[in-house]
Subunit: 339 residues, 4 copies
């Protein structure tokens, strides 16, 4: 039996991301245990469950959520499976940490919003883990002091070494720029109202058919202009940088100056090569924050509304990519439930 107060978590999906969350809950997080794991691959899920005391294996998410010792759910299955898993969790009144996207598309996200409101209290945290990155958190805290004044512009750089096979221009918006959409909304505390996508001549590093890099511009409800360099075959490293330009100053993160060397005619340091190296701590903090809040009976972090709003911005972004020009973002009115 688990220690009283230890949170029993059912992890839905044990692919790369899900398996990492299982490891994290089991070996890193304080106050939680993996009570159940779910995957369509019965053999795989049994192998994982066998390695963890008191953990049961399931091929059906609903069965896992109904099983003994499950106090909360972490959804890490593919996006199209999220809506069903969320609705089932709502039936069991279970708090959920749902990997991004909430659902793939604003229509299904709206259905989730309605269902959560019917439950009558918040249950969902969406996995926008950048909010838990130490540097972004410092930037947000600085903005909140007001000492720099109102934000006017936000410049973002988002660079990956290379894309995996099959990566499409749509994924560039939905999987990559989606992070800047969330960060923009969170840092500025404003909705995004329009998206424009500009396309330079593609890099010679970009695979055939992928328009890379792109330059994406957001406008926000408060009149800020936000630009994103999305550059996912830059070759040299994984880099995430942000500079907020405010009325009385600017603030920048992402330079990564921890270790500086002088060698062979050059000074400088290494650039992280992937998001695990850059954001591992943020993933750890995200899950710990979710476990801590859930044990206190609270729901904090990015809400289902954040999931819905970014889905709507993604849809505008993909249209801007395909049609050119400036595309306005359409959002339903924000329910008081999410204010």
């Amino acid at each position: 039996m688990a220690q009283r107060g230890t949170l029993g978590v059912a992890v839905i999906g044990t692919g790369k991301m899900g398996a990492d969350h299982v490891r994290r809950l089991d070996q890193v997080t304080n106050g939680a245990r993996v009570a159940a794991v779910v995957d369509v691959d019965a053999e795989r899920v049994k192998r994982i469950a066998d390695g963890i005391e008191g953990c049961t294996a399931h091929t059906d998410a609903a069965a896992a959520m109904a099983s003994d010792g499950v106090d909360a759910v972490l959804i890490a299955s593919p996006g199209p499976a999220h809506e069903a898993a969320l609705l089932t969790a709502f039936e069991h009144d279970l708090p959920v940490l749902c990997e991004k996207p909430l659902t793939p598309g604003s229509e299904s996200a709206l259905r989730v919003l309605e269902a959560e409101q019917k439950v009558g209290h918040r249950l969902v945290q969406v996995g926008f883990m950048r909010r838990y990155d130490t540097e972004y958190a410092k930037l947000k805290a600085l903005l909140n002091t007001g000492q720099l004044g109102r934000p006017l512009m936000l410049h973002n750089r988002h660079r990956n070494v290379a894309t995996p096979p099959g990566f499409t221009s749509e994924m560039l918006i939905n999987d990559s720029v989606v992070h800047e959409m969330d960060i923009t909304r969170w840092l500025l505390d404003q909705e995004i109202t329009a998206v424009t996508v500009l396309k330079p001549t593609p890099s010679g590093n970009a695979p055939e058919g992928l328009q890379d890099p792109q330059f994406v511009v957001f406008e926000t409800a408060g009149g800020a202009i936000v630009d994103v360099e999305i550059n996912v075959n830059c070759g040299f490293g994984y880099q995430v940088q942000a500079e907020v330009v405010c009325e009385r100053g600017t603030a920048r993160i992402g330079d990564g100056h921890a270790l500086v060397t002088n060698q062979a005619g050059r000074w400088g340091g290494t650039i992280a090569q992937d998001f695990v190296e850059r954001f591992e701590d943020a993933y750890d903090r995200q899950v710990q924050a979710w476990v801590d809040a859930t044990r206190r009976g609270e729901v904090t972090g990015p809400s289902a509304w954040d999931g819905y709003a970014t889905a709507a911005v993604c849809e505008a972004g993909v249209r801007a990519q395909n049609e050119g020009g400036r595309i306005e973002v359409e959002l339903v009115e924000r329910p008081a439930f999410y204010s």
Copy 2:
């Protein structure tokens, strides 16, 4: 009598910029002397001439250019007077360093181009002095090695502490962003083909009626996307930064890290407060380079074509400001004379 080979320069205009050039030629530059000064203010120009051995005072540019010992002309009068002064210099076949703008508008610039071509050899260098800044020069040299691959994007920041009274939104394009227009054309060695201007909610620091900051986007003939944050009432300092994003890496200048202090809970350094502090060396190098080339019988540096092309981009920029959306830049075909 001047040392053989010493370049006798007539300086047209002795306002703030012209007076500084007189001081520079007299006290900083090697191999030149101020042979004549011109200003509509007869008393002022006499006072200046009296302080310099062998220097004559004039209220008429043509008379100055015709006077003994004048080998070259530096035009620092107000923009509307440039065309006449340039045409007079062409009549005397005198090499000219002409402060920006070449002329205020692409039509008059075209007339200058035609007149220079009639002379049959280049006489004009336009005062785009950023090309002589050590950091920009290093950036250009790095791009020229080809080791970073083809440029895809160029991010610029151009920040001033505050604008003087009477500064207008048009001046923001014509006097400030014009530097990034020249730098873009020079660094990328490509013409600018379209301009878009985005306007965030103005800063509380901006004077009534001035839309500041603005976010300007250029497209270039080679398919690069260039963005400029122009932010001329930022309050905290004068900052000029540029990052070129290429296929195999990026390169950035303008951080200004020369002196780093730890004090009172903060590490860091001071930010220059004006362009003199930031670009004084560039002005010195520009004039020295012009004097050296002229003494060798050569014309180097930004040409009248560069003056014309930026004038045309400025016109597109002002239209983009006023009309919104994307404005294409119209250029005449580049004469072989300027290739």
Copy 3:
């Protein structure tokens, strides 16, 4: 009952450091629980134990170590109490994480070494938590690659905002420079063979009677020269920096460039104000590493030998402070047990 495999830890001492370790084990660390707490203040220790499920309160360390559910010991009592607590832990064959110093003096440290060797296997990890700091770890990893060649010099900066009342020149060596002693031995993998202390005219910030700052020089068995600026009333922040100078390059940590701002004529960032802000993660990682190793049945991290060797260097350092000149460090031969 605790989850199988969860490590039951007795925490000896619940002062500032001990209470923080109780919180860490209870709320941050994965796989451990606080099974017992010990303090001479019976009321205080009861209050702490009452807040943690399954935790017993003790005023006697031996009783705590003998109690049910105690699998390991964390010693955070004052230095003079360490030796007795360590010997008791050895009697119960319990793994120990012992806050620095191992014991206050090399003689008592030698007794601990002998006792641990009699047990026949390693039980002690000393709390030199800097080894768990991400930046130091990166520096060590880089040195281990060998790409920079052999270390020749190591420059250290150790700056505190201000000292608490009662801070003495001896504490400057024993409590502050002791960290650089351990880091030097660990980074270079060499013993320190001599210490010299140079004393500038004291800072006006230093309290009456405290010689601050000081400049300490170590020589090592491999012929490296190490300097330490110890500057504990610097006023501006808490800063720990290190640069290793090797045959083919140098590497530096401690610049702390995460968040860079431009404001009010200055660029830069904030400096941490205390060791908690700078090294909180290192403390977390240290305890997690100790818990993980202990659960695997291993003893890793700084050993009792490291505790002894730094105690001997501290003694030489205090003599160098008092007598001036260069003082050689006397070490017993390193037992094979600790190799």
Copy 4:
């Protein structure tokens, strides 16, 4: 004939350094001309003089100084020839810019001091050109404001890629560390009172017989401690860094962050490869400042006393190298003439 007020300079010595000064005076400096050149190599000196209008060639320094149009002398001959050249210049009452060292040794330097005092006014500026480096000048200006409080320590790094053949341990003090001796005296405005030299195991890059790197410690009259890493076969670049630690903060120069690149998994920039790249501007400014002052009838910059004092510190440094331990610096009392 030269322009009235143009300074006619005789350059003594046309080796690498002298030839560079000839080029500088002829092509870079404002207000000076090369009136005479002197070298023992008659053919070489004639070739140089022939390239410059109004310049005469000499194999004898005294003849050059007596020749028409010579208003000032720049001594760039080997050190042992300096004393005679200086005394001759004094006979002609000619202002002198003398390359470092003033003379090779404090005894001969004392004779120069006496001779200059007999002239009755200052004539000598010694070529400690680092004082004219922009970064050092900013550091000095910051110290002069007093905002950081009194200097307590000064940390220096002095790194060269590699030494030329024949470079000895004595030259390491006399030719390299001599710069930090001057900078220390100038920045802190205090004499150096003692020198200690520590020798790590030599780098594998150091040529046979050269003890490199070394770690040199100065004590100053005001109780400051100064350390110098002198590392002249570091392999990676030419680096000169300095951090002054004061009562209320520290200030550092020499990071050289002008151009920052991201490429191939690394961020950072290039390191200068020699002193020309790093200090070319300082040489230019030094000569211009000397010419400007001389034309105004003033003598500014490092004095013969500075030349003497560094010679005495060099002698102590070489003794500390050879004998080990701490060697006190012996200085005559500073004549009021030099205060």
